[in-house]
């Protein structure tokens, strides 16, 4: 029988029944983790999951079992006078928060079974990123997100939280380099828009390499002292967030090539008719698209995409959008009528856009991805074959000269074909008119399916 006891960590607000409250909290915690465990078990019994998603679900199940066991142990420790009531109570709240956090990952992972994810793309992406020296062996868990936006997912910096939870509840270990890829539920089988998953890879690499961590922030804070005084750390944290978004873009475009930038532009085009104006606006957590495109173009040009891109109307548009002077950038909408915050944001934008800072960011990306393959080189190897196959309604996995198109060639070839070559396909497919929305959607979906099949073929042949 547990007893109520006094100790030096009192609960707040004069609660007279700490034991009842503790039992209630423990019970709530137990019910939460048990329920999640059952949901995971049911999900795994009914469906199959990509390998690393399954690992994550197994980890969560086992951690749930250990959490329940610790809840009982902690209550006993409290009863024996070892664990003070205040600490126990806060610990229970923290554990519930930790499971609330895991909860927000578990459900989207359970939704992303093998039938709902573009498996070949995710498989290739895992091989591609796991082969990079800085994140060697990286693995990715796939989630299905309810939001139709690839850039608004909270970062998946779960690693430390999981590691401390493991320490606290004596739970199982998890794969040390585990990232999360969130696919909007409506786009989960697509290829074109899912090129944007490389942006999440960029965040993952930023977290894994700690490139924008303490040392950078300390230096940035020192630089900001003259402008922001005692608020230099706040300003540095704001700029850090914006820099990480740019970093993620640069990583994405360096790894995936032109397909990333074009898919990004097409996504924005869906929500804005006036890209040039829309692209000038900063968001609280995201730099203006004009700045993002400008920095992406630097990499694309360096990687020699300009030669090919110049044939596309989208390339000229990208150049036009990104020609924005610093003063033309618009502050986040929530501050546009706030004179003081507009001035503060002008200072933040000026700091972010500093040429040396952006140059350093590019150098960091170059350093981290020193061993990457230039996607353009892969693309030119097989661009003609991919285009020819897609133009005739054939899966682009033709083997020529002992090699079949590399997935980076397929992805880039597919996006370029989608944007400039579909008319060819409308001509060769009987009864499919390029003037009917249903016909266009049908053929676009087919192109994506053929390309995913070609990536799968490549994986089967080479991995």
């Amino acid at each position: 029988m547990l007893s109520v006891q006094k100790n030096r960590f009192p609960l707040e607000s004069g609660n007279s029944l700490p034991l009842d409250m503790l039992l209630q909290k423990c019970t709530a915690g137990h019910k939460l983790v048990s329920s999640l465990r059952q949901i995971i078990a049911a999900g795994r019994a009914e469906r199959t999951y990509p390998k690393w998603s399954d690992e994550f679900l197994t980890y969560s199940e086992r951690t749930a079992v250990e959490t329940s066991a610790r809840l009982n142990e902690w209550l006993e420790s409290y009863d024996q006078g070892i664990l003070p009531v205040g600490i126990l109570s806060e610990r229970l709240s923290t554990i519930i928060h930790a499971w609330e956090l895991l909860h927000s990952f578990i459900k989207p992972v359970l939704d992303a079974d093998n039938l709902k994810v573009p498996h070949p793309l995710v498989h290739f992406l895992t091989e591609h990123i796991g082969g990079l020296r800085v994140v060697a062996g990286a693995k990715f868990v796939t989630e299905i997100s309810p939001q139709l936006n690839y850039f608004q997912h909270s970062h998946t910096d779960l690693r430390n939280a999981i590691s401390f939870l493991q320490s606290l509840v004596r739970g199982p270990a998890i794969e040390p380099r585990l990232g999360f890829l969130a696919l909007p539920c409506s786009q989960s089988r697509n290829l074109f828009t899912n090129c944007l998953l490389y942006h999440e890879v960029g965040h993952f690499i930023a977290e894994e390499t700690s490139l924008l961590a303490r040392i950078e922030i300390t230096k940035l804070s020192d630089e900001l002292e003259s402008k922001f005084g005692e608020y230099k750390r706040w300003a540095a944290s704001r700029i850090r967030r914006l820099m990480e978004e740019l970093f993620a873009d640069l990583v994405a475009v360096k790894l995936a090539g032109l397909a990333y930038t074009l898919s990004y532009m097409e996504l924005i085009r869906l929500v804005s008719d006036d890209l040039t104006q829309h692209a000038k606006r900063f968001f609280v957590d995201h730099p203006a698209d004009a700045l993002r495109f400008r920095e992406q173009l630097k990499i694309l040009e360096h990687d020699k995409w300009g030669e090919y891109g110049a044939k596309l109307p989208q390339w000229a548009e990208l150049k036009k959008i990104s020609q924005v002077t610093e003063l033309e950038y618009l502050v986040p909408k929530e501050y546009q009528n706030d004179v003081a915050m507009t001035k503060i944001w002008r200072m933040l934008i000026e700091t972010l856009c500093n040429e040396d800072r952006l140059k350093r960011l590019h150098e960091q990306v170059d350093g981290v991805l020193a061993d990457r393959e230039n996607p353009y080189e892969r693309f030119v190897e097989s661009a003609a074959e991919v285009e020819e196959c897609l133009g005739h309604g054939i899966v682009p996995s033709l083997e020529r000269g002992g090699r079949s198109p590399h997935p980076l060639a397929i992805i880039n070839g597919a996006v370029l074909f989608w944007l400039s070559g579909m008319s060819e396909l409308y001509r060769v497919v009987p009864r499919c008119s390029g003037k009917k929305v249903e016909d266009r959607a049908f053929l676009e979906n087919r192109v994506e399916m053929w390309c995913l099949k070609a990536i799968e073929d490549w994986l089967i042949r080479t991995k």
């Binding site: 300390t218 003081a340 200072m347």
Partner: protein
């Protein structure tokens, strides 16, 4: 209250809370046998190293950063807030000294106990603040920021 906000925005605070409790676990164990240096001290060492990284980032190996705490704004500001409410701990250096004394092999029993108690008070408060902040993770613009451009 659960469900009032997106918990993923609170990830830094949840991480900080879990870390503080994992460290408190080690302190509770150390308190049971204060005559000897604690056997389990992984979190105490991690705290020391993380505090060192805050004071002098150049002193810490870059490959270690990814494992450290107090790395983001949420975590480091919570730490500073709790430090300012605990004058007996002093600054970041003072907190490091408290932790290093606990794990020091030649510290006396009384020294160790005194420092364990100080550390427990501090990290229990840190854990409490982390839970409170996890409930309202929105990073508000500090009120004084506007004063920067008032003139």
């Amino acid at each position: 209250m659960l469900g009032r906000r997106n918990i993923r925005d609170s990830i830094g605070y949840v991480t900080l809370g879990l870390f503080a409790h994992a460290l408190l676990d080690e302190l509770l164990e150390a308190k049971k046998k204060p005559e000897a240096a604690p056997v389990r001290k992984k979190m105490m060492r991690l705290a020391e190293e993380s505090l060192e990284a805050m004071e002098s980032p150049d002193a810490v190996e870059p490959s270690r950063w990814r494992n450290l705490v107090f790395q983001n704004y949420q975590e480091s500001e919570t730490l500073r807030t709790v430090l300012s409410a605990h004058p007996e701990v002093g600054d970041i250096g003072g907190l490091r000294e408290i932790l290093s004394t606990i794990v020091l092999p030649n510290a006396t029993r009384d020294e160790r106990l005194e420092n364990i108690d100080k550390a427990m008070d501090f990290f229990a408060e840190l854990a409490r603040m982390a839970v409170i902040n996890a409930e309202c993770p929105e990073e508000q613009v500090p009120p004084g920021v506007r004063q920067l451009v008032a003139s």
